[in-house]
């Protein structure tokens, strides 16, 4: 059976090149970078090189790169890091209402321990309004955290504009760029961003490794305590193979990024327009300001989950929302925030494309979706053509 993977937003298959880059650090060069002997020094060298690669890819300096265990930890380190460092200065944090759980749950926790959280609404496309942000910033605002691109509906925020507002008002700006990095050009030399989270497994790198970029001079405090690794902000023996893999993956992602992006957009738009040919289907998210690989549609009168399982039987892997929330029965907070009713939200399907997908994959997927939707709707008591 054909197996088509259209869930790159959840995680991506690792590139062979990346695994090859990692293997020597699992096998021969297995030292602890803190050891002073040559095993340790070799490990330290690889650590420095990987840091350099990440810095180059992002337009940052090596000392601004902190390795973490993934996107969730990076988000926590940024947000809790600032709240721990600046709580005497102020207790107000602004975020959007469509953030990933790693951001949302963290600010909710802070909300319970006497921080004041503002959740900016988004429009029907999932866009934050920069003017609204400007009007919410107060004297006691210490942090604005707004994601670069949404993991469910793919909407890309006006990061530069948001960053400039924060800069003007002297407020730290963090962005969760976990879905964006590796898929669209991003240069921190040009972007007014103070902190940025990324996670390797979203761009064909290994799981369990991520980065928090922290601009020089930005003050945060650590969450874990221990050794003095990662400029004392993230202790623990470094996951060297993972770090090397991340370095290689980010380097590979930068190669021909524009061509790869355009190729994906072609596939994405083909998939979108073919899905919209089906009766009672609506696109969620922005039509153009969206991730190159992201498609999110609501297919009325069907349950997204039944559709997902039907597709899985046919060999097509998709998601019915963000992977992290798909265990729960509550409709996604993102789809609620863009104004969908419960039923429409429950009929949503996320298809996230990646480098190995072909036109044939897209056409096959659409055929299968049509077939299953027809079958499901026949059983539906409410659907009338």
């Amino acid at each position: 059976m054909k197996r088509i993977y259209l869930d790159h937003g959840a995680t991506t298959p690792m590139k062979e090149d990346v695994l090859e880059a990692m293997l020597p650090y699992l096998k021969e060069i297995h030292g602890n970078p803190s050891s002073v002997h040559s095993f340790g020094r070799e490990a330290r060298k690889a650590l420095d090189e990987a840091r350099e690669k990440v810095a180059t890819a992002l337009g940052a300096s090596p000392e601004e790169i902190i390795f973490t265990s993934g996107g969730s930890e990076s988000d926590n380190l940024a947000i809790q890091g600032v709240s721990n460092a600046l709580y005497t200065k102020g207790k107000h944090i602004i975020t959007s209402s469509i953030e990933h759980h790693a951001v949302m749950d963290t600010v909710n926790y802070l909300g319970q321990i006497c921080f004041d959280i503002t959740f900016l609404p988004v429009d029907e496309f999932g866009m934050v309004n920069p003017d609204e942000l400007a009007s919410e910033i107060r004297d006691d605002t210490i942090l604005v955290s707004i994601m670069t691109a949404n993991n469910e509906i793919g909407t890309i925020q006006p990061i530069e504009e948001i960053g400039n507002i924060c800069r003007e008002k002297g407020v730290y700006f963090h962005t969760d760029a976990v879905q964006a990095i590796g898929h669209m050009p991003f240069n921190l030399k040009e972007q007014p961003v103070d902190m940025l989270s990324l996670s390797a497994h979203k761009f064909y790198g290994p799981k369990g490794i991520g980065v928090l970029y922290k601009r020089k001079g930005i003050k945060i405090r650590q969450i874990f305590f221990g050794g003095s690794q990662e400029i004392k902000l993230r202790p623990g023996t470094e996951n060297l193979p993972g770090i090397v893999g991340l370095g290689r993956a980010i380097e590979l992602a930068a190669e021909d990024i524009e061509e790869k992006r355009e190729g994906l957009i072609l596939l994405r738009d083909r998939l979108i327009s073919k899905l919209l040919e089906i009766d009672s289907v609506k696109l969620n998210g922005h039509p153009v300001k969206r991730l190159p690989g992201n498609v999110n549609v609501s297919i009325l009168y069907v349950e997204g989950e039944s559709l997902l399982l039907g597709l899985d039987i046919k060999g097509v892997a998709v998601s019915s929302g963000s992977a992290c929330t798909s265990g729960s029965l509550d409709p996604s907070h993102v789809l609620m925030a863009i104004g969908l009713d419960h039923q429409t939200a429950h009929g949503s399907l996320r298809l996230t494309l990646g480098r190995d997908n072909t036109i044939e994959d897209i056409d096959y997927t659409v055929d299968v979706v049509k077939e299953i939707v027809e079958k499901l709707r026949k059983m539906s008591p409410v659907y009338k053509k």
Binding site: E16, L26, V36, E73, N76, P206, G208, P235, G242, A323
Partner: protein, 390 residues
């Protein structure tokens, strides 16, 4: 056989087993799904989590829902200590640990002091062992957590954790007992239930598994506050897409390491005996720090060459491809004198001249013969150069 190198710094980190590397490669290559995804790729990931969790639970003799995956020993220790203290603060604000813990424990307690907790740091006896009676005496009605490591990473002293737990719980049944077992897991037989351990930390790269992955055992019914938020993974205690290749590698490494536990221990014991007796016979002025040879763990020991500098010995040995360390790797670059050796009351000369040897069951007799002869000649040369009267 010619000796290429002798890596006897296994407490800093170990070389992953070839089987572990193949398993990790396979998972990265073929079973890359996100365990939270509902499709088949996701189920593959979920299966890896479930089977790995079961392997570790079986080794500890606990339920699989009592095992949480983390990014390593540091995170496990922090999650246990900060998590318990912050969550249980209403019950009391007193905590107990020892002066010879790893920095990931000590620094977590330092942080808690800043948060208003009161911490008692137990000082070990000369042999690096905590007197259980002293632990009990430190307990007050406000004590919520006691954290004591099993095997010390610098001197190899073994704490009588079962006895300590029994005595603690006899005096205050509500006290929660955490054990940093990073250096003992897979080497010693651990059974949290029988030993009265409520939380236990370990880290895969110390037993020939991958770096960046660890486990925290949390006894059913024990509640703690997470360090990081989001996603609901790992019972809501540890968010983030799971490092499935690392977790699979950790489980396999634990399985391999525990399969021949007894043989491995005997082997390390005899290697240790060989190395210690050779060094101390040749250099009777050198001193074994901490536990007596027969009291300590079979894989970690610490010898001082008073008058010499540990770092110089280390680099001299490196010339012969022998790798040791001067103390905990977390500290060795910080150039502070070891807090462990100081807690034993060692003088400055002995502290500065200390070398930690840490073995693996993969080391061989031939390696020990080679290492012993090179160590002895290097020490003799250095002692001669520094005019140490031996």
């Amino acid at each position: 056989m010619r000796i290429k190198e002798v890596y006897i710094d296994n407490s800093a980190t170990t070389r992953p087993y070839p089987e572990v590397i193949s398993e990790m490669s396979r998972v990265m290559d073929e079973e890359y799904g996100n365990p939270s995804s509902l499709h088949r790729r996701g189920s593959e990931g979920e299966r890896i989590l479930n089977t790995s969790r079961q392997v570790l639970a079986d080794i500890l003799g606990v339920k699989n829902n009592e095992v949480i995956f983390t990014s390593g020993g540091t995170e496990s220790n922090n999650l246990a200590i900060l998590g318990i203290a912050r969550r249980n603060r209403r019950r009391g604000n007193h905590l107990v640990t020892t002066a010879i813990e790893h920095s990931s424990v000590l620094q977590a307690f330092n942080q808690l002091e800043k948060e208003g907790f009161e911490v008692t740091y137990l000082v070990p006896e000369k042999n690096g062992v905590i007197d259980p009676q002293k632990a009990v005496e430190a307990l007050t009605s406000r004590t919520i957590l006691v954290s004591i490591m099993h095997v010390n990473n610098e001197i190899g002293s073994i704490q009588p954790i079962s006895r300590i737990s029994k005595m603690l719980k006899a005096k205050n049944p509500a006290v929660i007992f955490h054990v940093d077992a990073v250096q003992s897991f897979t080497k010693f037989s651990l059974s949290p239930q029988q030993q009265g351990i409520d939380l236990l930390s370990m880290s895969a790269h110390k037993f020939h598994g991958p770096k960046g992955v660890g486990t925290l055992y949390i006894k059913d019914g024990i509640h703690l506050e997470p360090l990081n938020w989001g996603g609901g993974h790992e019972k809501g205690l540890r968010p983030g897409t799971e490092n499935t290749p690392g977790i699979a590698g950790m489980a396999l490494a634990a399985k391999i390491s525990t399969a021949d536990r007894r043989e491995n221990m005997e082997k390390m014991n005899s290697l240790k005996e060989k190395l210690i007796s050779s060094i101390l016979t040749e250099h009777p002025w050198a001193q074994l720090n901490g536990p007596l040879e027969e009291e300590g763990a079979p894989h970690i020991f610490n010898i001082s060459f008073p008058g010499l500098k540990g770092e110089i010995i280390l680099h001299a040995l490196e010339e012969y491809f022998i790798y040791v360390s001067t103390g905990s790797s977390c500290h060795s670059s910080a150039k502070e004198p070891s807090h462990v050796l100081r807690a034993l009351g060692l003088n400055e000369e002995a502290t500065e001249g200390a070398i930690r040897f840490s073995l693996s069951h993969l080391n061989t007799e031939e390696e020990m013969d080679y290492a012993a002869s090179k160590i002895n000649s290097v020490i003799a040369e250095l002692a001669n150069f520094h005019k140490i009267t031996t």
